[in-house]
Amino acid sequence: MLDKEGIAKRIAKEIKDGFYVNLGIGIPTLVANYIPEGMEVVLQSENGLLGIGPFPFAGEEDPDTINAGKQTITMLSGSAVFDSAMSFGMIRARKVNLTILGAMEVAENGDIASWKIPGKMVKGMGGAMDLVASAENIIVAMQHVNKAGESKLLAKCSLPLTGINCVKKIVTELAVLDVLPDGGFKLLERAPGVSVEQIRNSTAGRLIVDGEIPEMVV
């Protein structure tokens, strides 16, 4: 079973040299720490920045320089600032190669729910609806089951949707799965020490297990 850092580490392997990547709030933000040495990757922040640098040293925080999670950050050599319309312009125009974000639920047809629990929580969708509607390549980083032990990989989402038919890959504490174009969660890798049976028990949507499933190397 993976912890949050483990999920981030595994997702980092999906990043290719030269990619422009948008990292959502939460686990996706951690992915930045595991980009392989020597690989040149530019991180996009949808408030209007390409080239997110590390968090600042204490005392060097700049209130004018934040990421989409409102955290203080730094810039890098080659960073570029722009307004939020251009930021979503480049997202819609598919210039961003990979989007990694969290979710409350994912359905076997690639639908995603992440922004609202009716009557309970209404934080808003922020940039998530724009990202999932536009990105060619979306990876969801999430827990396989919620705190009540219920699967978050469903036949159909129960919460209000963020986007439809868009999620391509999911990395959880238990597994790596592809969402097939025709529907269904295709199991690709098991987390260390996790059995296919455990994954099956934690997946409410249609799980497709084809042959031997390797344990992931993190």
Binding site: F55, F57, E61, P63, D111, V122, K123, G124, I164
Partner: protein, 229 residues
């Protein structure tokens, strides 16, 4: 062509109950904090506020929410604000949540004289309800209308007396978009300079879009999520 007013109170003096305002900033970054303070002092009521976020409990638009000055918020993300959530769940506050890119682009559309734009954001979700859907090249898009706002209130780093503005770092965010979109645009700046002191190639908002400008003193620039290595 001198657009300088003496302070925030003078800049907002004709903002009246029931008007629609755009307020720049992302979270607390790049927030027109002097004008917000003046709006709280003036206690103008029944406002519709278009702003990406709603501030925190004791800063930004949160201060206006606390005084019940806001009738309706149009935003993309409104977490981090307990009073907001209370007013929303109790039905005291009307809230329209829209995708962040849609919000940004509807501002730009107003400033560019484009009555509507097309975006795929929200297709298949409750955001699409009641809106026209149109297919281009096999992909569905929502038609979203340009915003209309009586006033746009933005914060820039530097500005000149002709209204030309320069923003600093990610405090740019929605500010240049909203600056273009108001019927009347008010800019508050950290440094007010004479024409000619800003490089024409580096101006983010040309003065034609700005009607009033003033220098704000002692910016607090509060940090929402102080994060260090």
């Amino acid at each position: 062509m001198n657009k300088v007013v003496s302070n925030a109170d003078e800049a907002i003096k004709d903002i009246e109950d029931g008007m629609t305002l755009m307020l720049g900033g992302f979270g607390l970054c790049g927030l027109p904090e002097k004008c917000i303070a003046a709006l709280v002092r003036k206690n103008v009521k029944g406002l519709t506020c278009i702003s990406n976020n709603a501030g925190v409990d004791d800063f930004g638009i949160g201060l206006m929410l606390k005084k019940r000055q806001v009738k309706k918020m149009i935003s993309s993300y409104v977490g981090e604000n307990a009073e907001f959530e209370r007013q929303l769940l109790s039905g005291e506050l009307e809230v329209e949540l829209i995708p962040q890119g849609t919000l940004a682009t509807r501002c730009m559309a107003a400033g560019y004289g484009m009555p509507a734009i097309f975006t795929p954001a929200g297709i298949g979700t409750e955001v699409a309800e009641g809106k026209e859907i149109r297919n281009f090249n096999g992909k569905d898009y929502l038609m979203e209308l340009a915003f209309e706002a009586d006033f746009a209130i933005v914060k820039a780093w530097k500005g000149d007396t002709m209204g030309n503005l320069v923003y600093r770092s990610t405090a740019r965010n929605f500010n240049p978009l909203m600056a273009m979109a108001g019927k009347i645009t008010i800019a508050e700046v950290e440094e007010l300079v004479e024409p000619g002191e800003l490089d024409p190639d580096h101006i983010h908002t040309p003065g034609i879009y700005v009607h009033r400008i003033f220098k704000g003193f002692d910016y607090e620039k509060r940090i929402e999520q102080r994060t260090v290595r």
